[in-house]
């Protein structure tokens, strides 16, 4: 199936009749997935500065409200239908990872589930990886996203669509009047310029080198901010707080980052990760060792956002490089 590019917005308008449509768009200051207002242009040239995780796992989410006067607790039940049109394959992969955490472990997160069930993803096959992108080293195919409901790829003056799921079929039906026949195998292969070589047992090697001095060198320039965590599509740590107003109030959760010094500080003041070395190591190991150990896949999807945005230009790909280097050396 194909859709002419000049019909793309008309198609979105049909979808917008029954769901809130999010598009990658240029913000005033940074690009992100924004609600489509019916007119705005999609921004497909580069991946967004902010990952789409916010749509499933908001920066700040009010979980429930309580009123002790009335004796009531009202839980939030997000029920809005959301369609992301133009999500990149790396970000689709990140949603698959988040699903593992929030849905597939023994605990199911109700807020995440409600949003996830209401989400349809139309992936945009990546034709222009950025210099910092390395998703194809992390087992993502830039032009394909099996986890998406629909995949679309640029084919000159039109997009080629592939439907993967019943949700995708529903989208197809909504926009059928704008579709014409066409094949997906037109799509040329795309390759990232940044390549990461990693041994298959990377996670084991890393854990073995928990006390290696390399962590100190790697974290030398770390400022200890939360930038990498917050723009990472798969970082999912959160903190829970309350906004009390006398006998009424609300409980919320908001993003938190293991890079902050107070993240791991305990009530008595002890901090098991007292310096940036321990904190950065934890973050890297979580991406490349702990998660693979538990779920069998790397938590890093190779979107390259943290490399691009880190104030100190830290680069997660240096970690496998070091391992690979020492392996080949020795």
């Amino acid at each position: 199936m194909k859709i002419k590019k000049d019909k793309f917005k008309d198609a979105l308008a049909s979808i917008a009749k029954e769901a809130k449509v999010f598009l990658p768009m240029k913000g005033v200051y940074a690009s992100e997935y924004r609600v489509w207002d019916g007119a705005g242009e999609p921004f497909f040239e580069r991946n967004t500065a902010l990952p789409p995780k916010e749509l499933l796992f908001p920066r700040s989410e009010r979980m429930y409200e309580y009123d002790l006067n009335a004796g009531t607790v009202t839980e939030a039940a997000p029920d809005e239908k959301i369609v992301i049109a133009g999500i990149r394959p790396c970000d689709v992969r990140s949603v698959e990872h988040l699903d593992k955490v929030f849905l597939e472990s023994e605990y199911t997160d109700v807020y995440y589930r409600a949003r996830r069930e209401n989400l349809t993803m139309i992936a945009y096959g990546c034709a222009t990886p950025a210099p910092t992108c390395f998703c194809d080293s992390m087992d993502v195919v830039p032009t394909d996203a099996p986890g998406a409901d629909v995949v679309m790829n640029d084919a000159g003056n039109s997009y080629v669509l592939t439907v993967n799921t019943p949700k995708g079929e529903h989208i197809r039906d909504l926009i059928s009047s704008f579709l014409s026949e066409g094949k997906a195998d037109d799509v040329p292969a795309v390759s990232c310029s940044l390549k990461v070589e990693k041994p298959d047992d990377l996670h084991k090697q890393l854990i073995a080198r928990f006390d290696d001095p390399m962590w100190e060198t790697l974290s030398d320039a770390c400022l200890g901010c939360g930038c990498c965590s917050y723009i990472c599509p798969t970082c999912y740590c959160f903190d829970i707080g309350r906004e009390n107003r006398g006998k009424t109030g609300t409980a919320f959760r908001c993003w938190d980052s293991c890079m902050f010094s107070d993240y791991s500080r305990m009530a008595g003041g002890h901090n098991p990760r007292p310096t940036k070395k321990e904190r950065l190591r934890n973050r890297y190991l979580h991406k490349l060792a702990y998660f693979p150990e538990r779920y069998g896949t790397s938590l890093c999807v190779g979107c390259g956002r943290c490399i691009d945005k880190c104030p100190a230009r830290l680069d997660i790909t240096n970690v496998p490089d070091i391992i690979q280097g020492s392996e080949s050396n020795g």
């Binding site: 902010l50 320039a221 930038c227 707080g241 906004e243 908001c254 230009r313």
Partner: protein, 278 residues
């Protein structure tokens, strides 16, 4: 390789070889030609990894707070902005001059908008100057952000800052890079007191913005690092510039970090300070 880089490598090497310093902080290469990363040189041969080009932008003085009690002095390459950062932190009693070995490198301006308002390319404090000073070009409007915002209506200003802080992800990169943000503990991390709400809401984000500006305001060295590091590209110097502009309007020429002695505006008073209330 340019001459200056050779001088820097030589100086770093010499310092490390002599054993006078524990390590030297400068800039190193990354996998990307247009990015450099702060480099910590521990061995003389590390000096070969030093780079000096128009992308040697990141501020490196703030790392001194990571190592307040070094066994040996720390070597730091200091441009004008780094030297003001060091003055700033010395004035705030956070670092000690005797722990520093300052290798002065007059700066040639970098590929960054913030450098156009630079008033001191030449280092103001150093132990050794690696090459001759050159005059700092006439800086652009010192308050370029604040002037633009001031020109807006009150509603316009609120809308402007709302738009800015709606995008703020509270990663605190601006805080962590800022040499004036040098508290041991930051108020935002002490949620129990209640000065800062943790929600990523418009109000809590705006309050963070204003509070950060007020905490830094009279001590801002105008290096622009807060904006450079912002992953969202937010024009937050507009807040600190406003405070500096007001101070300059209220008491005349005021600049922070040009030395390690001058008092902070909010740390002193004058009997005939302007009285705008009442």
């Amino acid at each position: 390789m340019n001459d200056n880089l050779a001088k820097m490598r030589e100086a770093a090497k010499r310092a490390l070889e002599s054993g006078d310093v524990g390590y030297v902080i400068g800039w190193g290469a990354t996998k990307f030609p247009d990015k450099t990363s702060p480099l910590f040189m521990r061995k003389p041969e590390d000096a070969e990894r030093l780079v000096w080009n128009e992308y040697a932008i990141p501020g490196i003085a703030k790392y001194l707070l990571d190592d307040l009690y070094p066994d040996k002095p720390i070597g730091v390459f200091v441009r004008g902005c780094d030297s003001r950062a060091i003055n700033r932190m010395m004035k705030d009693n956070r670092i000690k001059r005797e722990n520093l070995r300052l290798l002065g490198i007059p700066c040639d301006g970098k590929d960054d908008e913030r450098c156009t308002i630079c008033r001191n390319r030449n280092p103001l404090v150093y132990d050794e100057l690696l090459w001759d000073e050159a005059p700092t070009p006439e800086p652009k409007d010192r308050y370029f952000r604040a002037n633009a915002v001031e020109a807006m209506s009150a509603d316009g200003r609120y809308a402007y800052w709302s738009e800015v802080f709606d995008q703020c992800i509270r990663c605190y990169a601006c805080r962590n890079i800022c040499p004036a943000c040098n508290c041991k503990e930051c108020y935002v991390d002490m949620t129990a007191t209640g000065f800062q709400g943790k929600q990523h809401s418009r109000s809590d984000n705006l309050i963070f913005g204003v509070t950060r500006a007020f905490h830094v305001g009279d001590r801002c060295i105008e290096c622009g690092e807060c904006e450079r590091v912002c992953p969202m590209g937010l024009p937050i110097m507009g807040q600190t510039q406003k405070i500096l502009k007001d101070i300059n309007e209220l008491v005349g020429d005021y600049e922070s970090g040009v030395d390690a002695e001058s008092e902070n505006y909010l740390g002193v008073f004058d009997l005939d300070d302007k009285d705008e209330f009442m």
